[in-house]
Symmetry: D2
Subunit: 365 residues, 4 copies
């Protein structure tokens, strides 16, 4: 496996859904950043399941700092962060051990790892792993805040129901008014009704998450291979169930003319901006100072109560799978903070590479 991401600000994730713990090592963090367990806990708590969309697994998810922080400031040493797994019940997974769950990594993991993978709760492929991204993202967000950059993510579509566009102020204000992290509360009501209905059918729904980075400095991205789009996409694809990523006008650009899709440059308050933002804040793989806008599609939860046709990998015979366990009917809202985290981590790495975040914050030397 490859469990590290980033070039200078790097994260190394470890842990499984039903193992002793999940954790992450964040390296390359500048020295002198004030950091407490509460700073990270606050972000992790965003992922906590609430509302009808969510699982009933109720982990306390208490964050522990293992290293890299001294006198409540980062030291520049690698920061170890850990959450112990407590509320683990693996019995269901033992029961269906050899039945390949459609949509899951059961088959590919079994084949790639010769049957040695920890299958319980999806093991290393569980959505739970995104808590390690969020822990690392909490640090990235604090670093980005030093240069005024803010990352926001919100649910913009579930089961085909689209939220109405909202400006950043409303997004920031509204995402915590509903369990779907949707910035359009009325539409969120409609989405929730649909989730309840589909859940009643033993089924699940997917959706689309939009991430926005505000006040991004011009110049983040290292083309031609470490483009801002490419590295953001790679980071976001690490979130289980994401199957597509687009920037700005994205796939709709296929239906536009150049004259419609090009963003005219204008000067505003002595600063160059673009009149529209079809580029999603990125030109030539480099941030142009406009909001970075990314959308990621999250497929409907693969675990459904519905019985499904599948096979038993041991016997190679057909079988009927009935997953009981505890699952989210719609994983989208819980992936929202993960998108935010992956954006923050990627932008932070680029900002450090570009020399925009100093190596020491308020240092004595």
């Amino acid at each position: 496996m490859e469990s590290s991401l980033g070039r200078i600000f790097t994260i190394t994730s470890f842990g499984e859904s039903h193992g002793p713990c999940i954790g992450v090592v964040v390296d390359g963090c500048p020295a002198g950043l004030p950091l407490t367990e509460q700073d990270i806990q606050r972000e992790v708590d965003q992922r906590r399941p609430t509302g009808p969309a969510a699982t009933t697994r109720a982990e306390e998810e208490k964050v522990e700092i293992l290293s890299g922080v001294f006198d409540q400031h980062t030291t520049s040493a690698p920061i170890g962060l850990l959450i112990w797994n407590r509320d683990v019940d693996s019995s269901e997974y033992e029961r269906i051990r050899h039945l390949l769950r459609p949509g899951h990594a059961d088959y590919t993991a079994f084949m790639k790892y010769g049957g040695y993978n920890d299958f319980r709760g999806g093991g290393r492929f569980s959505g739970r792993i995104t808590a390690t991204f969020i822990m690392a993202g909490a640090i990235a967000k604090k670093l980005l805040a030093l240069i005024g950059t803010e990352v926001l993510a919100h649910t913009v579509e579930i089961g085909g129901i689209k939220a109405r566009p909202r400006d950043p102020g409303d997004i920031r204000k509204n995402i915590n008014t509903n369990s779907l992290k949707c910035a359009d509360p009325e539409t969120a009501e409609e989405m929730l009704r649909m989730i309840e209905r589909v859940k009643g059918e033993g089924d699940s729904l997917g959706g689309i998450i939009e991430g926005i980075a505000l006040n991004v400095p011009v110049g983040l991205g290292e083309p031609v291979f470490d483009t801002l789009e490419g590295d953001l996409a790679k980071a976001i694809f690490a979130i289980p169930a994401v199957k597509g990523v687009e920037f700005g006008s994205g796939f709709s650009a296929a239906t536009k003319k150049g004259s419609e899709n090009n963003d005219p440059f204008i000067v505003q308050n002595g600063r160059v901006i673009t009149a529209s933002n079809n580029a999603g804040g990125i030109l030539g793989g480099i941030s142009n100072g406009m909001p970075v806008v990314v959308r990621a599609v999250v497929k409907p939860t693969s675990s459904i109560a519905h019985s499904q046709e599948t096979i038993n990998i041991k016997t190679m015979e057909g079988a009927v799978l009935e997953v009981r366990g505890r699952h989210d009917a719609c994983i989208v809202p819980r992936a929202v903070p993960a998108v935010e985290a992956m954006m923050a981590i990627t932008l932070c790495d680029f900002a450090i590479r570009a020399g925009l975040i100093p190596k020491v914050i308020n240092g004595v030397s």
Copy 2:
């Protein structure tokens, strides 16, 4: 800049649109692969502009092997590949040097590189750079052929006109029957008419390219960070003008239920396959043996004959831009071989990492 991609099979690209040459160094290639300049030339020629969609810049684009090949076989040493630039006319770029071309990297490159970037023909940000990807991709394709894996890309949408789905046999057969590399020749006619019309208006079009990898072994991909989706996406985003990447059912998964989107496992001829392929051949970030299906959106060509409002970066005053130069009204068909190349390079790196391609091919030892 970051000009290297890959972990074991790595490519390092260099060169600018109007500099002396473009080139690439391919490292980590197993020894003993038969390789000639013709093998690579054949792939590069796929990118040659033809038809009404394309520029009139007519580079011979003759490939030279600089190193890494001896007695017509790879030696395992880094393979240097080079194309000299010949048909260069930079006069137009001098004229508009300080006018920011909307949709291009002019502004971001100017800011990031302090005005030192080679602006002629887009310099390092030119689509011409993809010829270096295609040279490297030619080697990757030969390596993949050793394990029976084939990569195909084709145009599936231009300016909102969608090609009808075709099976791989037809794709392979039809993509060279028209200048758009579209596997649906009748629809290609329609697309061409639309391109001609839009070109007449001094405008441009974008579209969507689909890449398919056939006979992919189970087990490519290194989650959680080097997922097959993530690394394919990152590689494809290195192609200028790509603004979105999706796999399998992609963004349409947002409108589906789990029971619709999950691909049931079945046994066929003693082999596990899935009855549908909404996953695009990837589960848990790892190939599952089904065709890997990726779609990339290419924005409409930014350079349009149409006059555009912009600013002069030197004077910070408004200006009207009229780009003359030689440009593609629709860059989509010329990006098709680049998508193929980036897929091949990424799959090849994973196949080598997974130990599926030997380090020496038909070695004496």
Copy 3:
């Protein structure tokens, strides 16, 4: 900081001498390797201080596996390993906080990290960190054992007293007969007497460690930059106090003629070997099948009871330093398992890169 090492078999170390714990994440380990905490504990216990050379800090150093192991086998997921720090007494370090200890990283860390570094016990620069290398090395050694490769390290010189050469059988047998991990027990007695004497003077000694890898397959190393010498050296220089690394005849090659230093090739039992081993088992940066022989010099322990002239970094005034604390009069024997570990980690990464260790060990697929 940069806390990760390796390309495919990678280790990420974290933790400080006086923080909550030290730990390491080992990634890229093949699936199916039998692994228990005892396997790792056994190696860590080799570092335990014993004899007159050593500190009196008596950490239990109990290893915990946090992830990556299921049913007592590796799963291919990242393996988290941790040792809690227990016997911590930081009072002495508070007292001398601003006095720069000669030979230590106090000054460079203070300057580089702006005074935020955790200075207690040397923080991240402590020899204690090598326990994380040894944990990772324990896994590497088990993997190397699968291909019959064994790594041995032993003390060959302390304070100018040289051990007599011993063959591998004797080294294996003798290194645990004395607290210095010296394969020549009689000379070890002499070294011990010298250490006791120097310790009595409030002073310290350095020495030389030799590492030998036996039954190394031909072909490890990836020139021109990832030479076997270069990567072994880099890994070994991560051990605090190492100031030189040489292979085979090493620095003595400067006094030899080519005809003396060249190792003649001969055939023995149908296998190509060399009649001598001045190359230390490495030609052209690649293992040649002979024993890989490396020697590393360990400087005398910087912490000495002796009073030393130094400065106070706060006041920039001269000061006299008297370090009390608990220190090893000669750190050499405790660095022996670290050298073994770094050799094993490096060789293991190369063996996996060369495809000599399978990705799954005894897999069901």
Copy 4:
């Protein structure tokens, strides 16, 4: 093979001794550095064989810039540099193709690359490859000059004859007064006489090169794995024939007491320095502002006129090897600029990582 080195300032080397050319791609160079082919030519010319120690192969070695430079300044795009091979005579190598030359990579390359390696002139293992390091090093030296850092290397020992210590001023002045690049001209005479004598016997000599970096900023190095010692050593081991690397007091530290080897801190002109420099300018893997001092041992040239016992790898039978070709009786002086280059490249990468060299030099933005 692995042909790239560095994290941000990276070099990718390619080419073989008897192939069409040798070249290097330098990536991560800040924009705005004045750079011409002459700047690089000057450094490459330092490697030119002169005097009795050297081969008679007389390559013009004319440097060409392929990319990354525009209007005589770097653009931040990857800089391609190339030297065509002209004076190539491979006949001798064809003759002895299957005779394993002792001390060379013939056997390991044959085994690792299955007989596909380009054996002519050592192919990729030739000392000629160091010209690619020197080209890259020329850029690194210009970047270091911006922060006042200078790198000097010189021959300090040949065949057991040691040069007397010289201060940096004398080194700079004297190294070009003799063909051995020795800062002690009288001893150089003695070394030359010894080389002539040994050459007359059909034999060869090795020696020791010292590299010194002056005015190094405090804080270069990224422990625990990217220590300044470790990365310098790794880079220097890429130079063929180097078999050992030591810093400061190096291997002699094994014979010293802590009180002797520790360098006392003092304040001089308001700056912290050390009274001695046994640490070679590095503490805790980080530069301390004192001169960085490294010594590398170069083994005696493996190619000797002397007849040698060896085997034929095809027949596995004993054979007598008589190498004619054109060889250096002592390669040490020609490796001196390579040591300088590798030091400069490594220090430059660290200086950029530490944010000490700006991303744009005298930028307009």
